[in-house]
Symmetry: C2
């Protein structure tokens, strides 16, 4: 089934204890699409500038990622994020953000994307998220991410998003900020009350928790020895999850639980190196072998 | 089968954001034995003073905990720990320690305990742990806990313990301190190299990871809304785990994995109130119902 993602496509300049990467391919929609492409050929929406290299575009096409909805602004420059990870690597320190073409981006869903059955609204202005969600005809299964900035600055628009989506995906600190609850279990339940049927709270190296009306599901992270670059982990998690959902049509609590195991594996791939490089070293067979190993590590 | 625990039996004075408790029943062997008593009548070894109330002794007997190896020093006072939890509640702040009778404790295994088939060496001087372990005849299945103090001050004796036990149970910060590895997965593997066949690293509210030659197993924590008092969580975890092992005889990786789910549930009971009070409100039926709920929350 068809899966649409809207989000950023970016240049990342990242420094971690394991090294440095300058102006490499990044962005929420990028990581999501790379991860989802283990299951489906996702449709990508976003914008880049004239400086965006053809090889990156070709990289998307090589993974069957549909980029007909990726606008190229011939006058502009691509969004550029600069950040650093230190210590426990759980939180990025943003050193610089050049919005560039993203500043004036009008997210207009191309006609060829309007029949999408699964939609992921990566971290973005909630108004943009609403506009995209409402432009998709039919009744897609929609999940959305957000971040602290929108929680603080656009609570009303974000409230609208939460009341219309099927699921919210956010990290633990965002869930605490949004709800004022210190306990993650209470925070997850409080997010549920804002509207979504499902809430997934990501805890980085400590796994993720799923909340649904049918109950709570807790999943550990993939037992990785080393995280080289956490950038994109959350979006890769969402991509693996929704790729699985779109390929199976299973949006029950059980289906989402299962999807989260694939999201966890996709995230574990993403953090093994800079940018999307680790995906190049993990073909579908290896991805599924890795998933098998993860299932063994959490079954008893 | 018979299960022996040696450790502290104490008065705890604890303050958490949820309240205060003064001179309540505590100690590593206490929490362990209470948790293990869902499965077997454990044998307890330790020492208390003349000030130790009869009602606490009766509390042990009521749960079929064998206290014939609990020495009462008529001249001494019971070990007393005073501590506080703040913020994320993952680490206790120790405000005071009165070793009292524990200072001169000579752990001598009573003859009636010498045929114990399962032994848990709660946090204690590694020399005491060795002495107890070596006094048990036959070939018991032994697991041991330790803490930062012994890692720093008694590395050689602790090394001997690790080379002789079947399993080590420690928390994440201790494993990092012991091995110098920041990555928990690397730290666990490095502890394995010191000798134990199994290593369990406890991550508090983030669950636990089991390392064995056959592989790694990751388990999330019980999804609790609120932790009222974390004191005794780790020892209750070990008690639930080893109680299960002793009642089933399963010391394979699979058995230990299963046992860890019971340990997790026992820890989740312990932290719901001060001292051992929560165990009084959780009979065997409720304990097993709670375990069923936990299994549902981690199965897919």
């Amino acid at each position: 089934m068809s899966l649409l993602v809207v989000g950023s496509v970016a240049f990342d300049s990242v420094e971690t204890p394991f090294g440095k990467a300058d102006r490499v391919l990044g962005g929420s929609a990028t990581f999501f699409a790379y991860a989802a492409s283990y299951f489906v050929g996702p449709r990508l929406m976003g914008i880049v500038g004239a400086d965006f290299p053809e090889k990156f575009l070709q990289g998307f096409r090589d993974r069957d990622i549909d980029i007909s909805g990726l606008q190229v602004d011939p006058e502009g420059k691509t969004f550029h994020w600069t950040g650093r990870y230190e210590g426990d690597m759980n939180e990025a320190q943003t050193l610089g953000v050049s919005l560039n073409v993203l500043g004036d981006y009008e997210a207009s869903v191309p006609d060829s994307y309007k029949d999408s059955e699964y939609v992921f609204l990566a971290n973005d202005h909630p108004r943009t998220q609403l506009q995209v969600m409402r432009s998709v005809s039919g009744k897609p299964f929609v999940m959305a991410d957000t971040r602290d900035f929108w929680i603080s600055e656009e609570p009303d628009a974000l409230g609208e998003v939460m009341s219309e989506v099927d699921g919210m995906v956010m990290n633990d600190s965002e869930a605490r900020l949004l709800t004022g609850e210190e306990s993650i279990i209470r925070a997850g339940k409080a997010v549920m009350e804002r509207g979504p049927r499902y809430v997934i709270i990501k805890k980085g190296e400590h796994g993720a928790i799923l909340f649904g009306n049918e109950g709570i599901f807790a999943l550990p992270a993939y037992p990785l020895e080393e995280v080289h670059d956490p950038t994109g982990a959350g979006d890769s998690f969402a991509g693996g999850l929704m790729g699985y959902l779109a390929s199976t049509g299973k949006t029950s609590l059980q289906g989402i639980m299962r999807g989260m195991t694939y999201g966890t594996v996709a995230a574990s791939v993403a953090v093994e190196g800079f940018s999307v490089d680790p995906f190049a070293h993990c073909d579908k067979d290896r991805f599924h072998e890795r998933h098998d190993a993860f299932i063994r590590a959490i079954s008893f």
